[in-house]
């Protein structure tokens, strides 16, 4: 039997310019929009050939507005085309401000990506906690950053 290998890419989508008070606002992140943005960038950089090769199995698996983390699935091989264009994406259709995409991790299974995100988020939480004073704020942040319900639902389905 021949197995079809996939690659899951964990990306972080950051706004290019943060506000004056240095407080980053959460922005609406949709699977469909991110999917279209990546495909149009591949069309520009790698042409029709690139789009045709990534199209099978290409999917934005998970998007989190608050943490601005997304997981992209693509087949092994053409994932190199996808990873080569991700840093070149500078804006999403509905956003006025520019964005930049950080590739955090490339894994072979969704579980590996999940473990990575978990440790990454815990590290981020500890970093942010240093600035916060009250316990309520800490709990609120913890709920926002370490909310894995949607991804767990996807894993179990």
């Amino acid at each position: 039997m021949v197995r079809l290998k996939n690659r899951y890419i964990v990306v972080e989508i950051n706004p290019q310019f943060s506000n004056r008070d240095n407080k980053i606002q959460p922005f609406r992140l949709q699977d469909k929009v991110l999917n279209q943005a990546i495909q149009s960038e591949v069309q520009l950089i790698h042409g029709d050939f690139g789009v045709a090769s990534i199209r099978s199995g290409f999917q934005v698996k998970y998007c989190n507005d608050l943490t601005r983390i997304a997981i992209i699935r693509c087949t092994h091989g053409p994932h190199k085309l996808v990873t080569s264009v991700l840093p070149l994406i500078t804006n999403l259709p509905y956003l006025t401000a520019g964005i930049f995409v950080n590739i955090l991790y490339t894994g072979a299974t969704l579980k590996q990506c999940f473990n990575f995100i978990k440790t990454h988020q815990e590290r981020k939480y500890n970093e942010f906690c240093a600035c916060l004073k009250s316990e309520e704020e800490k709990n609120e942040l913890r709920n926002a950053v370490l909310n894995f319900e949607t991804i767990l639902n996807k894993l179990t389905n």
């Binding site: 591949v42 069309q43 520009l44 950089i45 790698h46 042409g47 029709d48 050939f49 690139g50």
Partner: protein, 107 residues
């Protein structure tokens, strides 16, 4: 052998128009860009010689990019809005080999 590949092409048009080397090269680069994007179009493609009467020309391309260029030429369908096709007559890694081969030999 050499690092380059040489291709003899002929442009076949459905309607007779004046073809200049600059427009021909633009058309070739556009077809490469359509199929392989910015990455494909970033490679040096040179039009060494072009005869505007017979519409025949010689292209030079790095050997690693030869297959991509050939594929783009095959899939190119329009020249300035006119239907066209590129006929690939000869290919070689040596320019001298295009001068004459056994196919040109007359008994």
């Amino acid at each position: 052998m050499s690092n380059y590949c040489y291709i003899v092409i002929q442009l076949i048009l459905t309607k007779a128009v004046e073809v200049t080397p600059v427009y021909l090269k633009k058309n070739i680069l556009e077809s490469v860009k359509q199929l392989f994007g910015e990455v494909g179009a970033s490679v040096n493609i040179d039009l060494l010689k072009f005869n505007s009467q017979t519409l025949e020309g010689i292209l030079r391309v790095p050997s690693c990019h030869f297959i991509k260029l050939r594929a783009s030429l095959v899939l190119s369908g329009y020249y300035e809005g006119i239907q066209c096709t590129y006929l690939i007559k000869k290919t070689s890694s040596l320019l001298l080999a295009l001068q004459g081969d056994s196919r040109d030999y007359k008994h």
